[in-house]
């Protein structure tokens, strides 16, 4: 069953694009004219609910977000066209620029961090070890708990002086810190908790990628006298490329758009101390819903969208689609 979807996916959509599907449709068109119309009508009716939903709740907000940035919106819903004022304000807003800086550090640490921990754990739990199912579950477990609960747990564990982590550090003679109260450490703490939370998810993704690699390759390499490291570099990594592409794309998009830690930051640090954990999306949210500055927030949000699009395009270009069999 695992093999069938991909086989037929390739059959339905050859890499040459829509050629085959189109001509097949035309060929059928002459003999089955009424059936193909009936089929197309049925297809549209099947797709309609999701199509309308995505149109109203995703596409329209996207377009609105681009246009809303040109308006000043007051708390009573009055709109005033102000041209590029929101955009020029953005580039002179030290807090926004700082939040972009925080976002860059966050992405640059989080994406490789998740890649290494996810792949490392996958390699570990791929081995035949007693109770392997249990160990896999334990690595994955944090991921099913909500980020709000995660934030609350770590808020207590990281408390100054009496927190669990500092007590453990004291046991081995290390100096505890105000992990969440010190601008030097807060972003690091947020990043560590995020990696701990998400690594089990990426472990599963990498595990399924590893399982796709034919055993015979390793057997052959072993006969040729290859050691574990050369096998990893010459077999595992190249054959994992599609999985790696997927992991990097998804984790980057999640990191930039803040979906991997908005809740965490909201509850654990609220952007502080001294804005040190204020990601761009967090700052935007505050401007919109704390200060009701919708126009300004939309202008900043559309900037983030542009950055996201650019990253996606670059990732696709760099990897030539990463053999991303989508269509």
């Amino acid at each position: 069953m695992d093999d069938q979807p991909r086989l037929s996916l390739d059959g339905v959509q050859p890499s040459s694009g829509r050629g085959l599907g189109g001509s097949a449709l035309q060929r059928r068109g002459q003999t089955y004219w009424s059936r193909s119309r009936k089929e197309a009508l049925a297809a549209w009716l099947f797709i309609l609910p999701d199509f309308i939903g995505l149109l109203i709740f995703v596409a329209v907000p996207m377009v609105l977000s681009l246009s809303l940035g040109f308006f000043s919106v007051n708390g009573f819903g009055g709109y005033k066209f102000i041209g590029l004022a929101n955009y020029s304000r953005m580039f002179h807003d030290p807090l926004f620029l700082e939040s972009i800086e925080v976002t860059i550090i966050y992405v640059v640490v989080l994406v490789p961090g998740l890649y290494v921990t996810g792949l490392g754990l996958a390699l570990l739990v791929q081995q035949k070890i007693p109770f392997i199912g249990l160990w896999r579950s334990l690595f994955f477990m944090p991921y099913v708990v909500s980020l709000v609960v995660i934030a609350l747990i770590w808020k207590v564990l990281l408390i100054e002086k009496v927190g669990f982590l500092n007590q453990m550090l004291a046991l081995v003679g290390l100096q505890g810190q105000a992990w969440l109260g010190d601008p030097k450490f807060a972003l690091g703490a947020v990043l560590a908790v995020t990696i701990w939370f998400l690594m089990g998810y990426y472990m599963i993704i990498f595990l399924s990628g590893l399982q796709e690699i034919p055993r015979e390759y390793y057997e052959a390499a072993r006969i040729d006298g290859a050691n574990a490291w050369t096998m990893f570099i010459n077999i595992t990594l190249p054959l994992l490329r599609p999985t790696s592409f997927f992991v990097i794309l998804v984790s980057t998009v999640a990191a930039v758009s803040g979906s991997s830690s908005f809740d965490l930051i909201y509850v654990m640090t609220n952007g502080g101390p001294a804005n040190s954990t204020s990601l761009a999306v967090f700052y935007i949210y505050e401007q919109a819903f704390k200060f009701n500055d919708y126009g300004y927030a939309a202008a900043m949000a559309s900037t983030v969208v542009v950055i996201l699009l650019a990253i996606t395009v670059v990732l696709f270009a760099l990897t030539r689609g990463g053999r991303f069999h989508l269509a």
């Binding site: 297809a43 999701d50 570990l124 334990l138 709000v148 599609p242 969208v305």
Partner: protein, 276 residues
């Protein structure tokens, strides 16, 4: 070959076993700590011992009697459950059409729909909120449910699944005079029960854990979902960590139970997202 290697292999295997087990236990320990803390007395919470000295259920009693916590739980069950059911119905319909029905523009429409998966809620939340506000859905169940029901990921996964079902099945049914709806309802849906149950667990979890949308769209406490409740509970009782941990356990337990019951399905649904 294996017999020659055996002794060395055994030592490294034990080391592998112990390091994996230790890492796994450390990874899970904050969750164990939460459960332990929820059973501790107020004065004991920063005691470094992992087990409570005098286990008590007082914290849970407090959470359920002093707060309308049951109401928040029911709200969340209702909202997450409704989203799951509607989403599975709509996504399987669309997935079936994209996989098994021919119509002009199929590939380009699918690509457009799929590309919306790059758009996260955080990025469009301002215009989305304004839109939903204009529709009069602020502080309503509809406002909590409808805007977050539609996502391209579910459509994509179900389409992949239906592509794996032999096309002959549909041809045969059409020759027998079945309608497209009949094929979908009587053949495709029953066949896709495994993936639907996997997605159901996944969708329910995601929506049970949802925070930013409920936070934005509801100010009326009667409509609060559990995540909002514990976040604001912490704001009010900032030092009463024993109560906060008890409330957190109540919120986390359903997800952990779901995880242990449907682990296989959950892992399968995540695996299918790792597109190759």
């Amino acid at each position: 070959m294996d017999r020659v290697k055996a002794p060395v292999f055994r030592v490294s295997r034990w080391m592998l076993f112990f390091s994996t087990a230790t890492l796994a236990i450390i990874t899970a320990s904050p969750l164990v700590w939460m459960i332990s803390a929820s059973l501790k007395e107020p004065g004991e919470i920063f005691n470094s011992s992992l087990l409570p000295q005098h286990p008590t259920l007082d914290n849970f009693r407090y959470v359920f009697t002093q707060l309308p916590f049951l109401r928040y739980i029911l709200n969340t069950f209702f909202v997450a459950g409704t989203i799951t059911v509607i989403a599975l119905l709509f996504h399987s319909m669309a997935g079936y059409a994209f996989a098994r029905l021919r119509f002009p523009g199929r590939e380009s429409i699918f690509l457009i729909i799929f590309s919306t998966f790059l758009v996260s809620l955080q990025v469009i939340i301002v215009p989305l909120f304004i839109l939903v506000q204009k529709m009069g859905l602020v502080n309503t169940y509809a406002g909590l449910i409808i805007p977050v029901t539609f996502n391209a990921f579910g459509i994509f996964l179900l389409r992949q699944f239906y592509l794996g079902i032999p096309a002959d099945l549909q041809e045969a049914a059409i020759i027998d005079g079945a309608s497209y709806w009949g094929i979908y309802w009587n053949i495709m849906l029953p066949l896709s029960r495994p993936i639907l149950s996997a997605l159901a667990v996944f969708f329910f979890l995601v929506n049970w854990n949802a925070f930013i949308w409920p936070l934005t769209i509801t100010s009326n406490q009667d409509l609060w979902m559990v995540q909002i409740a514990i976040a604001s509970f912490q704001g009010q009782y900032s030092a009463a960590w024993n109560y906060i941990m008890a409330a957190s356990v109540v919120v986390a337990i359903p997800t952990l139970v779901l995880f242990f019951l449907f682990q296989r399905q959950l892992v399968e649904s995540i695996k299918t997202t790792g597109i190759k």
